[in-house]
Symmetry: D2
Subunit: 144 residues, 4 copies
């Protein structure tokens, strides 16, 4: 656990690779390797997402920045968000997936998907305008 | 999206803060700010965890490293793990939680919790041994 | 599948036991017994809950009765709610849990838990009132 | 809560409509109507699924019938499965979805989907056999 919490700046700049290493050490030191199979960790992740949901369940819609939450509630939220992250990082690791590479790639993929969608719809809209123009022309000429 | 996928080394060392910034840009550029309320993002996260689970659902127990999965399946898995991460990073951001700080802190907290538990059980075990010794002594002396 | 959808009344009055039997037949007829292990079904349930969440994810708060949803959306919602139920019924069955007995019992248990909580708080409140009265008496008498 | 737990037979034959009514009474009596919005109940459902997952998370693959679980564990499992059901029934109710009708219909739909899939694959397989026969004929005739 050396190097954790040395300073705010370091914490803020934590990489996924560092978290992965820490989780691996953590498990090795406690002899948890045996428990950390992919589906065990997946179910633990689902459990953590459940606890995250319980924080929000009776609150109705919540504004961004959580203006009406007290410090204790925010602390609790930070802990549950972290548990989801830690299980996710560990699950990726035991599956041999480098999350630090896969995530930026997925973000780019999402950007391309979105761009294609926008292009598609703008093309559709232009075709529709074009067809109106052509039809309008026909209607105009045929009505002469 | 500049700087994404420039090289393996950079991808591997991606920080949570970088992902947070990219997600924020991504949303701003597409006018999605309005949709990114805490509970909307939480439900999107649950949806992504559902898709992750669907990958594993009919497979029975899966060994670490996924030795029998083909490249396409691993690619798909990497994408779903990434979607969970991206929604988690975005959710933390709109809640004002610095995940890059909260996660290492939670890891330390988990370590402390575990240590306390181990201490508690070893103390319990020693007390139990002690009580046996004392009782044994009594039994021995009283039986004289 | 005989007897399904014969009429509205019958559908409305479907018992959990009937659903359990139908799911069991359904699996046997398709040779799915092998796939229906407890954890496979649990992950399928998580997947179905994910799809349910995707329906609600970008909608913000939604009023009861879904007044602004069209028929197609409600149809889709009904199908996803059903998938969650069908996996839940099947999971309970392969675990040997009689959900038709456990659920009413849990509802009673929840009622008792709630009653105990209410009693506890009302007792707390009365003790607090009592202590004010006693203290008030003391203050009054001592101030004479 | 009258009529609950009167006997085993009645419990086993509980209908979804009866559970729906009981949940509605339960909420009305405790003035919880205000809390029971669709998305609040959905998140409560996700929370309950999380608790269900926690029961299975470190167990590895579990055989059907849970032969190595003790009574207390099975009791706990029954309670968590029930909580998922109760929130699901309540969520369906406040959405105006009649789960007792939708679920048998979805089961039929799943049966049809599966049959279409089987037909499609058997057709594909026959076409493939046919094309082999034709090709074989050609090869045979052309090789003369």
């Amino acid at each position: 656990m050396a190097g954790v919490g040395v300073g705010v700046a370091e914490g803020e700049a934590v990489t996924l690779q560092e978290l992965k290493k820490k989780m691996a050490e953590f498990s090795r030191e406690r002899d948890w390797e045996h428990f950390h199979s992919p589906r065990n960790l997946l179910l633990a992740l689902v459990g953590a997402v459940g606890e995250l949901s319980e924080i929000f369940q009776w609150k109705g819609e919540v504004p961004r920045g959580l203006p009406y939450w007290n410090e204790e509630e925010k602390q609790h939220l930070g802990e549950e968000l972290s548990d989801v992250l830690l299980y996710l990082v560990r699950l990726s690791d035991v599956c041999g997936i480098e999350l630090g590479k896969a995530a930026p790639r997925k973000l780019e993929l999402n950007a391309i998907k979105y761009q294609v969608l926008v292009l598609y719809y703008s093309l559709l809209s232009e075709l529709s305008t074009l067809s109106y123009v052509i039809l309008g022309y026909r209607v105009t000429t045929s009505s002469i």
